[in-house]
């Protein structure tokens, strides 16, 4: 404890030096090849506490050896490496594992076909039960089989989707990209339980989020706006202008749906409020934007009618349906909108992406995620200016953030209480286990109140202490790491093959014929628990002296659980 305090004290002096060196964001822009030669950084660059801080924030904590590696290369070099994920090689093994998942490998259209065909089977079986079954077959049995098949398909999709995310979060060397992917997923949240989105959220993350995680905000915004997962989740695919062509002579009028338009402004861009100032739009603006976005929908075959979508990718699934579009003039955020079809929506995204309120909203969220729950206003101001100066270049905003004195200030270190996701992923990484089966972690996340892809509302999960520090949460975390540390959580063993019923069901599915054979589980080994000494090595400066003392005085079977269940490891 005493030594920890001393090192933080020393660091605050260093932080002042950094403040002087980075006081102007434009100096960062001018100098694209930063700064490892800068003398003031040389002091701070491999400081223990700073190394720990950076690994806690731009990675999901260290794997064994990471602390040493970053200490040797210096945090600035590590940050620069992580800001360019495309330059970091991903192991063939990780690539092969991802490619083994249909939801990662196949285009969105093919996934939709598979999903719809399951639904048709189940519906047909229901009809069969209603008495239309051909003679000689037991209709109840047909229905049960079909429903079991459908449940198995849902489970298979959910398993693959969560597998793909967590495997990358734990094992990808592109850690900042994974951190940003989680950040943006919550920003542009889609709930996996809404019908078609069961088949699409993995593709949504793959096609619309991860590639743009450090790119330009406008690209990210456009990709999420047009992806069928979002069009479906927030109902824009149905939204139709009152005067639209499809409504002429139609028996049932299709209507305007404001859901996406509202969240687009409130959550995705302008924000409902910024630092006490309202985002600056009204209910009328919501309705007008919804009208501008009428006709933004997806290929009608995604409803399961009109033929297969095999091989159609997510970009091709987006269509503009002129017959649904409201061709009237609109007045939106003070702009007079003359009728211009699909381009009205593109114009709206252009305006929103570089709007000062959006710049501030995104800057505030980034600062809150990466710095502190109540981020310093001066930092938010600086990030906002950087955002506007670069037309929303997320990489540059992040660079300004990560080199800012506020980020590197001692006050920011350990200032964040980990979300369940950060806690679970960082524990898996610190364990050093070769993670073969992430499903026990998926279960843990649900128990901790943060089911992966399970946030029902479009605002996504919060990342503040107020949201997650509660009595139940703390004890559940301790339960989880106690199981992990004692080897009772089988994450380093291949998952068991699906039960016979599920396997039969899976075998009859069109998509699953392309599935690789399930890895055969090895005979159960006697799994030794984690070693507290290795954990302490891996985590280094993240675990303070007080915890080290308690761990040392404790019986060995409990020591590793104490490290991961310590208050030190609950924070980042």
């Amino acid at each position: 404890m005493a030594s920890m305090r001393a090192s933080l004290g020393a660091l605050s002096t260093i932080a002042v030096a950094i403040a002087l060196a980075t006081s102007s964001p434009s100096s960062i822009a001018a100098d694209q090849k930063p700064r490892t030669t800068e003398p003031s950084y040389a002091v701070a660059d491999n400081n223990e506490a700073l190394v720990a801080h950076v690994l806690n924030r731009i990675a999901f904590g260290p794997r064994p050896g990471d602390v040493d590696r970053v200490r040797q290369m210096g945090v600035n070099a590590y940050i620069d490496e992580q800001l360019h994920p495309e330059r970091i090689p991903v192991s063939a093994q990780l690539q092969a594992r991802l490619a083994s998942f249909d939801v990662e490998r196949l285009p969105a259209g093919t996934l939709i076909d598979g999903y719809r065909s399951e639904q048709r089977n189940a519906r047909a079986a229901q009809a069969a039960q209603a008495g239309k079954a051909s003679a000689g077959m037991d209709p109840v049995q047909i229905k049960d089989d079909a429903l079991a098949t459908r449940r198995a398909e849902y489970r298979r999709l959910a398993t693959q989707t969560t597998d793909a995310r967590l495997i990358q979060a734990i094992d990808s060397p592109r850690q900042l990209q994974e951190v940003m992917t989680e950040f943006w997923y919550n920003h542009f949240n889609v709930f996996i339980g809404k019908d078609l989105d069961r088949a699409l959220v993995a593709n949504y993350e793959r096609d619309a989020i991860r590639p743009y995680a450090l790119g330009h905000f406008r690209d990210l915004l456009g990709a999420t706006a047009k992806h069928p997962a979002m069009l479906f989740y927030l109902d824009n695919w149905l939204s139709t202008g009152d005067n639209a062509e499809v409504n002429r002579n139609a028996k049932q009028q299709a209507g305007l749906n404001e859901n996406y338009a509202r969240e687009l402004m409130e959550l995705h861009t302008l924000g409902v409020e910024n630092e006490g100032k309202p985002g600056g739009y009204s209910q009328k603006d919501v309705t007008e934007l919804a009208r501008m976005l009428t006709g933004w929908t997806f290929d009608g075959r995604a409803t399961g009618r009109g033929g297969p979508l095999e091989g159609v990718d997510s970009q091709q699934l987006f269509i503009f349906a002129p017959r649904r579009h409201d061709n009237g003039t609109k007045v939106w955020l003070g702009h007079q909108i003359t009728p211009n079809g699909e381009q009205e929506g593109e114009f709206a995204l252009d305006v929103l992406a570089v709007h000062p309120a959006t710049a501030r909203h995104i800057s505030y969220e980034l600062a809150q995620y990466f710095v502190s729950d109540e981020p310093p206003p001066a930092l938010v101001d600086r990030l906002t200016r950087r955002y506007l100066a670069t037309d929303g270049d997320i990489r540059e905003v992040m660079r300004t953030l990560l080199y800012s004195p506020e980020f590197r200030a001692p006050a920011a270190m350990n200032a964040k209480f980990k979300t369940p996701y950060q806690y679970v992923v960082s524990a898996a990484r610190a364990s050093g286990l070769d993670v073969q089966n992430v499903q026990p972690l998926v279960g843990t996340l649900a128990q901790l109140g943060m089911p992966l892809y399970g946030c029902l509302t479009p605002d996504g999960y919060k990342n503040t202490e107020a949201a997650w520090l509660n009595p139940d949460g703390v004890t559940r975390r301790i339960n989880f790491v106690t199981a992990l540390a004692s080897g009772r959580l089988p994450i380093d063993r291949a998952p068991p093959p699906p039960s016979a019923a599920v396997a039969t069901a899976a075998a009859s599915m069109p998509i699953s014929t392309t599935m690789p054979p399930m890895p055969v589980a090895e005979p159960p080994l006697k799994i030794a628990g984690l070693q507290s000494t290795s954990l302490l090595d891996t985590l280094g400066p993240m675990i303070g002296q007080k915890t080290r003392n308690v761990v040392q005085d404790t019986e060995p079977q409990l020591a590793a659980a104490l490290v991961l269940g310590s208050p030190d490891f609950m924070r980042r």
Binding site: Q447, N470, S566
Partner: protein, 420 residues
């Protein structure tokens, strides 16, 4: 020390009384009076996140506009196929809520129609935020009104005085006063490693500081001990079996409601409880007597009925308030659903309730009366309904009421939802 002793006694007495259910409840009632709060009044808040369609919960079936606005999702008049259950000749209850009708007839259930938060926002997140902070229009309020209420209640504090169902602390409970939580589902009583003294001792040394994480850890152990003793299955097994007639309750809310009732009945310290239920955002395919909305209302009605039954004598001292962030559009949309609206209906249930009545001034739903020609107007501020319960049931003094809801509008015609 003293309290631990009390808890031990309580669980022993509970276990013994499990054999004689009648005696056990009598014991709980008398012990409560002697040991803990001078104030044993309870309140349970059920929050329907996502904006339930109040015009389908308590439908103004007698108004011609109602059927006109809702050609496919409107509910039929009483007596027709899928028709509402008549309440007072003007309003009818959604048929999926049939389990609540005995409470309505018995005068234990009331509604406050055209109620809600006066802020015009139609954002779920904002509207929930305002309804949970208790300060509509003010974003800066960092605590929630149920936490403020915990701090102001007369009587002795305890680690389980405020209880939340679920593992995430809801906004409404944010604030300095610790809140206990009961996990959803069977997990509530599953043993945890910290129930083993050796492990708890070791972690106790890590969490003996005065930081927020350490304090939260210790609160969790206190609350856990107290809760486990109250949920001890042996104490209630027989009573449960008899009530269920052997059948397990469906998962979800009815199950949690039964567990919550058991906990509140056995632990007189629990005064406030909060449950949130999602899935009400019916933009498309809402359904009428059957369908999406009905499928959500049905376990809710069943659960509330279970809650009332299982609370037993404690129900006489309990007020349950059901609320949702705003109502939905009066007219159905092109997707046979409804969009975000404004006024809604609050449900108030319990022993002290002035039941059998739809309270509040009904503004009507003709075009001229709608809010922005779109949705139900608000004639009762939700804070005035809660304030009535806080003042007359939880016995909160006047000055504290102002802290509970700073800036609450004084409303001369605010309905009085409790019996005089």
């Amino acid at each position: 020390m003293e309290r631990r002793h009390f808890l031990q006694m309580m669980s022993m007495a509970g276990a013994a009384a499990g054999l004689v259910p009648v005696g056990r409840s009598a014991w709980a009632a008398t012990t409560a009076a002697g040991t803990v709060p001078v104030n044993n009044k309870r309140m349970i808040v059920v929050f329907l996140r996502g904006a339930v369609d109040g015009l389908s919960v308590v439908a103004p079936y007698a108004e011609p506009d109602y059927a006109k606005y809702r050609p496919t999702i409107g509910l039929a008049a009483p007596g027709q196929d899928g028709g509402v259950l008549d309440l007072d000749g003007h309003f009818g209850l959604h048929p999926a809520l049939a389990p609540l009708m005995p409470m309505w007839s018995g005068g234990k259930l009331a509604f406050v129609h055209a109620s809600g938060s006066p802020d015009p926002t139609r954002s779920h997140f904002d509207a929930q935020d305002y309804m949970e902070s208790g300060t509509p229009g003010v974003k800066r309020t960092s605590d929630g009104w149920m936490n403020r209420l915990l701090g102001e209640l007369p009587g002795r504090p305890s680690p389980t005085r405020g209880l939340a169902v679920g593992s995430v602390l809801p906004r409404i409970y944010a604030g300095p006063i610790p809140v206990a939580s009961m996990a959803e589902g069977q997990k509530a009583t599953q043993p945890t490693v910290l129930d083993q003294p050796k492990i708890a001792d070791a972690f106790g040394k890590l969490y003996d500081g005065n930081d927020a994480t350490s304090r939260t850890y210790r609160e969790s152990l206190d609350a856990r001990r107290e809760m486990l003793s109250s949920l001890d299955p042996s104490a209630n097994e027989k009573e449960q079996m008899a009530a269920n007639n052997g059948a397990p309750l469906p998962n979800g809310f009815p199950d949690d409601a039964a567990r919550l009732a058991r906990l509140m009945r056995n632990d007189p310290n629990v005064q406030l409880a909060f449950v949130a239920l999602g899935g009400w955002d019916t933009h498309a395919g809402q359904g009428a007597a059957r369908g999406q909305l009905a499928n959500r209302l049905s376990p809710l009605g069943q659960g509330l009925s279970v809650l009332a039954d299982r609370l037993g004598p404690v129900f006489n001292d309990t007020v349950v308030v059901v609320m949702s962030e705003f109502g939905r559009t009066a007219r159905e949309n092109g997707n046979r659903g409804t969009d975000h609206g404004h006024g809604n209906v609050m449900w108030v249930m319990g022993g002290p309730v002035a039941g059998g009545k739809v309270h509040g001034r009904w503004p009507g739903i003709d075009e001229a009366s709608l809010n922005e020609n779109r949705d139900l107007a608000i004639t009762t501020d939700f804070r005035n309904v809660v304030a009535d319960v806080a003042e007359r049931h939880l016995q909160l003094p006047d000055a504290q009421l102002d802290q509970l809801f700073p800036g609450r509008p004084r409303q001369g015609d605010a309905p009085r939802v409790l019996r005089a």
